[in-house]
Amino acid sequence: MKTALLAGATGALFGVGLIVSGMTQADKVVDFLDLANLWDPSLAFVMAGAIAVHLVLYRLVLRRKSPLFAESFGIPTRTDIDGRLVGGAALFGIGWGLGGYCPGPGLVSMTSGASNAIAFVLALTVGMQLFHMYEVHRAGPAEARPTPKPQPSPFPSKESA
């Protein structure tokens, strides 16, 4: 219950950040990505502001042995660049430029009742679900799958090493 309340408050803060930054106005995102028209550099300032804060505070947080209300930090440890990463990111960018929404602003904007935002989130959900179904299909029946390797402890953060 406590963790859910914390996560809810954090989500709300994240949402307020998106709203204050203007990223829930799809026009500002389109105007950032569209270099062939009047340019709105806002999105770069949003990312710079977010990274400037998180870059410093993230490192302070990681001085702790564990998070306040969980057993360990869940930090990705992969460093390999594969086609899946690049291909997925490329697809995401195409959809982003086409619709003017990425998942966060889409979810927040949906509450306005704007049909575009609602349609985006519904289609986003379908797209995610389609990929899940493809992955399950590709993996074959559950009994035929090799047992997954135990996850290494997520704590070590020496990812850039």
Partner: protein, 174 residues
């Protein structure tokens, strides 16, 4: 032929009348009057703060596509915080839609059809590439993750290419 024209009219729902293009030779790059660096950086700082709180309290990366996508494959004990986070996002939006609806204004330059196609592509893309603007762009870059740097450069490049090509070939309307 008529069918093709009809389908195209669904896609390009407004005929562009006057194109404003900065690509014309001799034209300087012009900034949009909507550009607001202070709000952008301040809002960004709040996003960075939220990402820090999530790491400090639950040890989780604040990647929206990962948090939301995890709800579609619920695992025991791993659902309530995701649901709460998404409800928090929606709550912020609901308050804004009451008091400042213009802050959630959709763009008039994208048709419903284009937006649905965009949603499908984004849904697949963020799951294949393990992240979106928040997970790779904010959290990953803050961690100096090589994977996130590559992902961010890639989606920025294809996003800019897509929106710019829509401007060049369809007058900015899709």
């Amino acid at each position: 032929m008529d069918l093709a024209r009809f389908l195209l009219s669904l896609w390009v729902h407004t005929a562009p009348t006057e194109r404003v293009s900065a690509l014309d030779p001799g034209d300087p790059m012009i900034l949009s009057p909507n550009f607001d660096p202070v709000s952008a950086a301040a809002g960004g700082a709040l996003i960075g703060l939220a990402a820090t709180f999530l790491m400090l309290s639950l040890g989780r990366i604040a990647g929206i596509s990962g948090i939301y996508g995890g709800l579609l494959r619920p695992k025991a004990g791993d659902t309530s915080w995701r649901l709460a986070f998404v409800l928090g996002l929606l709550g912020a939006g609901a308050v804004a839609s009451l008091f400042a609806p213009e802050a959630l204004a959709p763009t008039a330059s994208r048709s419903l059809l284009a937006t649905v196609a965009a949603g499908l592509i984004v849904g697949v893309g963020v799951r294949v590439g393990n992240g979106c603007t928040s997970g790779h762009g904010v959290c990953g870059l803050s961690r100096f993750s090589r994977r996130s740097l590559v992902a961010t450069l890639t989606f920025m490049a294809t996003g800019i290419a897509t929106a710019s090509l829509i401007q060049i070939f369809f007058g900015g309307v899709a």
